[in-house]
Symmetry: C2
Subunit: 339 residues, 2 copies
Amino acid sequence: MAAVNLKQLAKILNLSISTVSKALRDSHEIGDATKERVLAKAKEMDYTPNPFASGLRRNKSKTIAVVVPEVANNYFSLVINGIERIAQENDYHVLIYLTHEDFEKEKGIMKHLENKRVDGILMSVTMNTKNQSHLSDFQQKGIPIVFFDRICHEIETAKITTDDYISGMNATNHLIENNCKDIAFLSLGDDISIMQKRKSGYLEELHKNNMEAKPERVIKCGNDDEMNYQLVKKLLTGKNKPDGIFASVEKLAIITYQVCRELNINISKDLKVICFSNLETASLLSPSLSTITQPAYNIGKTAAEVMFKYLDKNKTYIPNENIVLQSTLHIRESSQQIV
Amino acid sequence: MAAVNLKQLAKILNLSISTVSKALRDSHEIGDATKERVLAKAKEMDYTPNPFASGLRRNKSKTIAVVVPEVANNYFSLVINGIERIAQENDYHVLIYLTHEDFEKEKGIMKHLENKRVDGILMSVTMNTKNQSHLSDFQQKGIPIVFFDRICHEIETAKITTDDYISGMNATNHLIENNCKDIAFLSLGDDISIMQKRKSGYLEELHKNNMEAKPERVIKCGNDDEMNYQLVKKLLTGKNKPDGIFASVEKLAIITYQVCRELNINISKDLKVICFSNLETASLLSPSLSTITQPAYNIGKTAAEVMFKYLDKNKTYIPNENIVLQSTLHIRESSQQIV
DNA sequence: AATATTTACGCAAACGATGTAGTAATTTTA
DNA sequence: TAAAATTACTACATCGTTTGCGTAAATATT
C-alpha cells in the first residue's frame, strides 16, 4: 500500500540500507551478484526513491520552473512544449507559474522559488516588470535563470531571443512596399525588451524610407483587452486613420480584426495588417493574416538545453550569452496590395 | 549567499530550533513576544523553509500534477489556466506533464509520480489509453486523481466532464436543421470516453430524424495530422461526399478547412461544418466557424477545486462523483444555410 | 500553603536517502 | 610469507523540518 522504502527493501534482502542504496545507484563498491539481487527485488517491490529525501540530501530537485505571463497563448504554449520535451529527456520535472502580466504576482512567484525548490528557472518577464531586484539574487543563491523572449538585460545569464529588430524592419518594409503611407505600431507596454526592439525596427525602417514617425502612431496597449479594443477602435475611427498596422503581438492583431469587422473596414484593401504571431489558423482567417512567426518550440527547446548544459555540470552560474533565433515572415492576404 | 535555515535563525535569536519552528507555524506553545521576535528576524533574514525538508517530514509536497495530451491547444491551455489559478490560491505548485497522446509516455509519467512527489493528480488521458492498470494504484497509495474531460470510468474518483452527449445531439440536430442529409463524424481515436459520448449523440440524433447512420461516415482520425489530412481529403473527394461535417475536436475542423481550401469546396454552401472548439479566432475564420465550446477554464478550476476540497481535509480518497458542466453552441457561418 | 494546572520553551527522534569512514575477508604483491 | 591492496559490505552522521515529550517556572486552584 504505502510506497516501499529503502529500509524495508534492505530488511527483506537482508542487507544494510546503504548497500541497497549503492546497489541501486550502481556503485562499484557493490558486488555484481548483490546488485542483481537488489535490482530484481526493487523492481518486484516497485521501489522508487523518495524525491524529498534525495532532494534534501543532495540539494537537487530535478525540477525546473517555467515562469510565463500566459499559457492560453499559442506562443507560450509552444515554448512550454519545447521546454517540457527537453526536460523529459533529462528526467526533469517542470513547474509552471503564470504571472498574468502582473508584476506583483511575478514577485510573489519568485519569492516562492527562492528556496531551492527548483534547480533552475526559465522565464519571460511580464510586460509590467519594472526592475530586476526580485531576480538578481537567484544566480548567487545557486539557482540559474535563463530568459527567453522577454529578457532582463541587467541580469547576467543566457538569453534566448529572436531577431526582433530585423523582423520589425522587415515587417515595416513589407507594409511600405505594399504602399502603406501611414503605419501604426501597436505596442504592448513599453518597458519590455522585445517591444523596444520591434519598435526600433519599425522606426528605423520608417526613417530609411524618409517617412515621418509620428508619436501618436505608436499605441501603447496593455493587459486589458477591452481597453485595447477601445484604443484600436479610436485609432481606426475618423478620417485621419493609418493605412497599415503593425501589431507587436498576436492578440492585438485579433483585436484589430474585430475592430475592423465592427467598423466595416476592409483589411487588405483599406488597411494592411501584419503581426507577430504563432496562430495556427492565420492562413484561414478572413483575410488570411500575414505574420512574423517566432520559432516558439525551438525557443523553449533551446532555453531548456542551455539550462541543462549548466545543470549537468553542476554549474549554477551561467555567463552572459545571447542566442538569437530567426523568425520567419509569412506574407498572406492581410498585408498585400490587391492587384 | 546560501539560503538561511532554521538552525542559523535559532542561533541568532538565541532560541532552540524547535521554538523557532513552532513560532513560525504560530504554535500556541510559543509566547507572543517570542513569536514576534522570530517573525521579525525571519523576515529580515529572508527565511523560507526548505520544501524538501518539510515535504519529507510531513509527507506533503504542496504540489499537484497536471497530465494532459498537449498544451499547444486552446482547450488544454485554458484548463491549465484554471487549474493554476486555484493552485496559486491554495499555495500549491503545479507540475506539467505532456503525454503527446502516447500511451507509453503516459505510463512512464505516471511511474514518475508514484512516489509522493505530488499530493494529487489532475488528468485527461491520451486518446490511446487502453487500460487503467497504470492508474488504479494511485488512490490507495494516497495520491488522489481527478479526471477531466477524457476520463477513466473504471477508476472511482471525481470526474469533470461536459454534456458531450447532449452537445453531440445538438450539433447534429443543428446541421440537420440546416438541411444536411449526409453528415460525417470526425472522431479522434475510438476508445476515449468523450468520443463515445459525442458519437452517441450524433448517432442518436440521426436516428431520431430517421437518417441512416452509415459506418463509413464515422472517420477515425488519430494523432498524425498528415494522415488525418489524407483521411479528410479522401472523405471529401469524389462525388459521394457528405454535406455536413461534425468534427469532434478543433484540429480536425482546421484540417477540414485546409482540405476544403485545397479542393475548392465552399464551406457553408457545399459543406456545413461544426466542431468542438475553444478557438479564439473562430469568428474570424472564413467562413466563421460554428463551435460547441466547452467551459475550459471552469473545467480546470472545478477539477482543482474538487481536488483541494479533499486535500485540505487530508482525505486521499475521493469518492465517485460526476460533475457535468455545460458547453455552449455558437452558431456561425460554417454551419448555416445560406439564405 | 500545598497541590494542580498552564505557559513557554528545549531535547531528541523521526522522515528517507546518501556518502564518508570503517572493517572484515579475500586477493595481490614484494 | 608477511605486508599491501582490493573487494564487498555495514555503521553512522547528515540534509532541514516537524513534533511528541519533558520540564522548569509561573499561575491558578483548593
